[in-house]
């Protein structure tokens, strides 16, 4: 049986198809202005017997395709557990949200936290900050890691942080140090969220932001624990949904 999972997030959509416990297909696209249109295009031509939707657009997909749904929380926990069977803590930082999940020793979700209504502490925040410092998103983390020290950014609000960055640049502060400071502030927030649900090893870091090496490095320092990043960190939700579709 081929089972698919689709994760319709606010920034991107991922599709994973599983057959006999193996990933046989994975696709990704932007959510764009019309996520349902893009989701429809993404599943076009993919072969599967059952599909489960997750992500913030899951209920739209449910209506359009009469598919069952699962929350991102459960999907990420499930996906992470498939990749790392003894996982106890999952952090996911995606385009516009972030979440921390604590699992019991037997893999059941014990507690979770999600970010507030705004973009603070998410991929969107890093993206905007990279842009205002003139970095490509992919270079943002590696460049920040070259800084010797970081400059404290006091504001977590995207709008205020951006003007803080602009004034630091105008004052002639080192771009890399500002970049490191911005990463540190996202990590502080993520670590706070993780500590509220309790942190136990192994910790899995998923979502698009997990591709940023500076984030991983700082997070390990903040948690005093190694963290594991899946090969395709942004596919974990879709993978989890596909696994649940198989049940």
């Amino acid at each position: 049986m081929r089972c698919a999972g689709i994760d319709i997030g606010s920034r991107s959509i991922e599709l994973v198809v599983l057959e006999n416990g193996k990933i046989v297909e994975s696709r990704q696209s932007d959510s764009g202005f019309d996520p349902m249109k893009n989701a429809t295009a993404l599943i076009n031509g993919a072969a599967y017997d059952a599909i489960m939707a997750t992500g913030y657009g899951r209920h739209l997909f449910e209506i359009a395709f009469n598919s069952p749904t699962v929350t991102e929380i459960k999907a990420y926990a499930e996906g992470a557990r498939f990749l790392f069977p003894d996982v106890r803590t999952v952090l996911d930082i995606g385009g516009q949200d972030s979440k921390a999940i604590a699992l019991n020793a037997d893999g059941k979700i014990k507690k979770f936290e999600m970010n507030d209504r705004c973009a603070a502490g998410t991929g969107k925040f890093l993206e905007i900050m990279a842009r205002s410092l003139g970095y490509e998103l992919d270079d943002f983390g590696p460049e920040a890691m070259k800084a010797e020290k970081d400059i404290l950014i006091s504001s977590m609000c995207t709008v205020f942080a951006e003007s803080e960055v602009t004034s630091l640049v105008a004052k002639g502060s080192d771009r890399r140090e500002i970049a490191l400071g911005l990463h540190s502030s996202v990590v502080r927030r993520a670590a706070g969220m993780l500590k509220r649900v309790s942190v136990n090893a192994p910790v899995i870091f998923a979502g698009g932001v997990a591709k940023n090496p500076c984030m991983c490095h700082l997070l390990e320092k903040a948690l005093e624990s190694p963290i594991h990043v899946p090969k395709n960190p942004q596919m974990v939700g879709a993978l989890g949904a596909a696994l649940l579709a198989a049940r």
């Binding site: 929350t71 991102e72 929380i73 979770f112 999600m114």
Partner: protein, 425 residues
């Protein structure tokens, strides 16, 4: 609505245009949230009727009572003793504050970070859309949280008939003495308002009336411990909301009728949702009409609410007033005793509330607790953290939610609630 009440509203000084807008929002919400539910008990038809006439027939009844010489008292808190009002020939109605209204006007008078409940009570006054408020002969405010306390100073400039009741903050002998003297002061104020003296006979009768209303609600609550739950949390919440402004005797009858029906449902194992639906206990700030947002999100996310640890719920209605006294003083004492047990978060410390939550969790066979705090409500938001810790120490899954009346966060709330329900399965 069955009749044209425009003249009545006009006479009360309502802003007709704004009032129409409010009624249409209310009607739509009721349609989408209440009437869209499946498997509702037939007896809920009464409450559908009450809601459709909430600004119509019920107001007309109150005006008729007034014409016959009774007085109407509006109150914002469950600490205002209905027994005393009734015994002095006054009718007590709750002033609901469950929707944002006239927000721009409100923010001229109150800081932005005031809880939605207080803002709403001002919005209804400033927008001139609440016929209960406008027809009340006396409005009772109470010194509970700082927000209410201070806002009454401002409300006093907007209404002519505000009476402020002081309340204790500690469950001490001194606290009880304060409550007692305040209840006597209230008794005198009501007697002065109506010109009718509270007598042993009238007080005995009013205790009976209010106790009967409570007993009916207790009966309803007990039936919800059955699995599958015979009534939705939304419908039970509505009964608890209507408790505050319906005619007490008619309300008691209607709730008892629903209970007769629910007893049969329980016997036949008929429920509103399937038997294995996760069961939620809601705990926290009161939910006034038409604040149905969170219960609606919960019950459309695959769970059923089986109890409300709230002032619009069991915190407000549990405990009867002892009716064995024979003199006014003895019965006043019993009233003080009964109300002094209300475990509102404005008390410090407030351990009874925590034990009550745990007790309700057991009684109603809940699977998890959702703590509902209104943004900027210090007493409940502060208490939420130790409550969550204590419940989790007992292995009771708990979800803490801070929100307000806007629908802005509905999507995010839905995800959090759904994820919580998933973990209960």
């Amino acid at each position: 609505m069955s009749q044209d009440y425009t003249k009545m509203w006009e006479k009360l000084g309502l802003n007709l245009e704004a009032h129409d807008a409010l009624l249409s929002v209310l009607g739509k919400a009721y349609q989408d949230i209440y009437l869209a539910q499946k498997n509702r008990p037939q007896g809920m038809g009464y409450f559908d009727f009450v809601m459709s006439e909430v600004h119509g027939l019920r107001i007309k009844e109150l005006l008729d009572e007034q014409a016959a010489g009774r007085k109407i008292i509006g109150a914002y808190c469950v600490f205002v003793p209905e027994e005393i009002a009734l015994a002095a020939e006054a009718t007590l109605v709750g002033l609901c504050s469950g929707a944002d209204f006239a927000a721009d006007e409100v923010e001229k008078l109150l800081p932005r970070n005031t809880c939605a409940l207080i803002k709403s009570s001002f919005g209804f006054k400033l927008g001139k859309v609440c016929p209960y408020l406008e027809c009340a002969d006396m409005i009772v405010g109470e010194n509970t949280c700082d927000g209410k306390k201070k806002s009454y100073e401002t409300l006093n400039t907007l209404v002519k008939n505000l009476y402020v009741m002081d309340l204790p903050q500690k469950k001490s002998d001194e606290g009880k003495a304060l409550l007692k003297s305040e209840y006597y002061r209230f008794k005198e104020a009501v007697e002065k308002l109506t010109g009718a003296a509270v007598t042993a006979e009238s007080l005995r009768k009013s205790i009976e009336t209010v106790n009967s209303k409570r007993k009916a609600i207790h009966r309803l609550a007990r039936l919800r411990s059955a699995s599958p739950a015979p009534i939705s949390g939304l419908d039970a919440l509505l009964a608890n909301q209507v408790y505050f402004y319906d005619n007490p005797a008619r309300f008691t009858d209607s709730v008892n009728k629903i209970c007769d029906e629910l007893e049969k449902r329980v016997e036949n194992k008929v429920g509103v949702f399937p038997e294995n639906t996760p069961r939620i206990l809601l705990s926290g700030c009161p939910m006034a009409v038409p604040n149905w947002k969170l219960p609606w999100i919960i019950e459309t996310s695959g769970a059923v609410i089986v109890g409300e640890e709230s002032c619009v719920g069991e915190r407000g209605t549990r405990n009867l007033t002892d009716d064995s006294g024979t003199t006014v003083d003895e019965m006043m004492e019993a009233i003080v005793e009964r109300y002094f047990k209300v475990d509102c978060a404005i008390f410090t410390p407030n351990p009874d509330r925590l034990s009550h939550i745990a007790e309700m969790f057991e009684t109603y066979k809940a699977d998890g607790v959702i703590h509902y705090g209104l943004q900027f409500c210090q007493p409940y938001l502060m208490e939420a953290i130790p409550v969550e810790k204590a419940l989790e120490a007992k292995n009771i899954p708990t979800l803490r939610i801070d929100t307000d009346y806007s629908m802005e966060d509905a999507g995010q709330l839905k995800t959090r609630v759904e994820a919580f329900v998933e973990l209960l399965k």
